[in-house]
Symmetry: C2
Subunit: 340 residues, 2 copies
DNA sequence: ACTGGCACTCGCTACAGTCGAGTGCCAGGA
DNA sequence: TCCTGGCACTCGACTGTAGCGAGTGCCAGT
């Protein structure tokens, strides 16, 4: 089980070569391209050990070696340093994110930026409502029996719901309702609103009771309980790079998985600690994504986290580079959010 | 140049067979599967004529015939009747669209529904701001020097912009600004707002002048001039049906095109008359989409059109079926919008 | 412990041969 | 005049064979 330094160096070399050439790498090519200071035969012996331990494998008997998911895992954990971003990349990030007019714009720019920099599929979760606070709730009369309820979160996210009222409500009442609701809910974390909303209904003047009840129902059901998460996606065309070699020739399962918001949320949304997460191959829970890896992290203003973002690509991806980019972008987005 | 009835019948049969089998169709198979009442030899003669006229072609010398874009065009224009929807499909549409909580929800449900029914890529344009009227403009104070401007359109679409004010503005002033703006702009078509906004600035009391100017700028620049169009997409995984036969093996160009909102808007957004539009193969203006066809139509409450929706797939698609589905879905969505 | 040498494996490519679906053409018949 | 059966032909798809070469495992020697 001893993996001495040289064997690790061999594994690192295999990963790096395979990632860049996309072809199984043999012992001879390895010693030519890296300063290992030993002969191909020695490397072969090391390779045999690495294969026994499950870090690499041979596609066919007479071919070179390819890293396994386990090999990538070891590489990511112990053999790679996060690449510093080039100044050009830093500038690209700043240039790209400056001038966004609203949250939608920020998210769209971010996801395209990520896709472009990493040349992978990029995923950005909108700031989660569950982790947001209410900044303001607005009631806009649409007709006498209809209101539009607009919620503005501190993250800049805006959600609206059409509310069918039990009966006609005069303008003055709407003003009162608006005041009551905001007094009670403004600055409350959305996850802590249920008791507050309950109190709102109970404390409401009799005249406003039915309307308030309706509003409370909509508020709780569509904004709190079924906490509406949103996702932006970009760069699916990047899946076709590397011909049909990655994803063993069928994009089908990948594209299907990418259409499911639930799947994407699980992939990038569950970043508990503020660290970068790397899921390699079948480490993720979805069969459709066995051949894919995900690099993701949380983002948010300051040290809090309000959502996740990341990239998805073939297991054969540039982990150090992608990790660096994902982190950097998350940091910039966080700063941008903090400014608002 | 005479295309008698039988030749047209042969073309129709070729299109139908090729669409369902995805394989070049030969003269013998044709007479077996269709009641043409003539021998294969006769069919071959007809095929030769059809090929001369450019309606069909042979992938290789010793293969059957395949319709050309021109052949599909003739088929769509003269040889097919729009398939009536099955009751199951009608029910699916109703079931799918009931219970949408807001416009976002309507659009998302619609696009998924379309993708599912047609098994193609579905595209839905959000109700265009250019064709909407202002229902209400709300100003929400974020801090003393920041407002959030929320615009609610009659189509249910809600847009918000963060506005950096030139100086602190007291709450009473915000109330005044809100009143002034709504008095002037409520119910105005967005395309007709520029002179109204201009007037707003000119008529504003001196104290509110600078703030009003800032608001006017944001309003015009981000909501009117650069009229923000939005698009929802679903069913990209359907592109992989039919293996790699459609799109000659490379999804790349298609996926790239689908990432460009501008492209999608041109494909489905320019539906001037209220009729269904079919773009076959290179009839569309994008090189990337040479191998694709688009079926699209406009939708909106009543007879007005506020946006477009449609499906995109291989030229080898079920035109009559897709046309019927696209129309039906557009009609249902229109009714749904009319209710709000 | 590393190295050079050697036999071996096996996927890839090229090539030849066969098969068969499909065609174009033509002469004969309604 | 139009349709039909017959026939020779084309050419892609598939199969089998052979040679090549990258890469390996093993072993004896340093």
């Amino acid at each position: 089980m001893g993996l001495d330094d040289r064997k690790l160096a061999v594994l690192r070399a295999i990963v790096e070569d395979y990632v860049s050439t996309q072809e199984p790498v043999g012992s001879k090519a390895l010693v030519e391209r890296h300063q290992l200071g030993v002969s191909p035969a020695t490397v072969r012996n090391d390779m045999a050990v690495l294969e026994e331990e499950g870090y690499i494998r041979q596609p066919h008997t007479s071919a070179g070696r390819v890293p396994t998911d386990r090999g990538y895992r070891l590489f990511v954990d112990r053999l790679s340093r996060v690449k510093p971003l080039s100044p050009a990349e830093r500038r690209a990030i700043e240039r790209f994110l400056v001038g966004a007019v609203d949250l939608d714009d920020v998210v769209h720019r971010t996801v395209r930026l990520l896709a472009q920099l990493t040349r992978q599929v990029a995923v950005v979760q909108y700031p989660s409502l569950a982790r947001s606070s209410v900044r303001h709730l607005e009631l806009v009369p649409i007709s006498t029996t209809r209101l539009m309820l607009v919620m503005i979160a501190d993250t800049g996210r805006v959600e609206q719901r059409l509310v069918e009222l039990p009966g006609p409500v005069p303008a003055d009442d709407v003003t009162d309702l608006r005041r009551l609701i905001n007094e009670k809910l403004a600055n409350a974390r959305l996850s802590e609103t249920p008791p507050l909303v309950q109190a709102l209904v109970e404390e409401a003047p009799t005249g406003l009771r039915p309307t308030m009840t309706t509003l409370a129902t909509v508020l709780l059901e569509t904004l709190v309980e079924r906490h509406e998460e949103r996702i932006a996606l970009a760069g699916t065309a990047n899946l076709t790079r590397g011909g049909l070699l990655d994803f063993q020739g069928s994009l089908r399962p990948i594209l299907e998985a990418l259409e499911e918001e639930v799947v994407l949320l699980k992939l990038i949304g569950e970043t508990e600690p503020s660290t970068t997460r790397v899921l390699i191959g079948d480490e993720n829970e979805f069969d459709n994504l066995r051949a894919a890896s995900v690099v993701s992290t949380g983002y948010g203003p300051g040290t809090t986290i309000v959502g996740g973002l990341g990239v998805l690509g073939p297991t054969r991806m540039d982990y150090p580079g992608n990790i660096a980019t994902v982190r950097a972008v998350a940091r910039y987005v966080g700063e941008l959010l903090a400014q608002n």
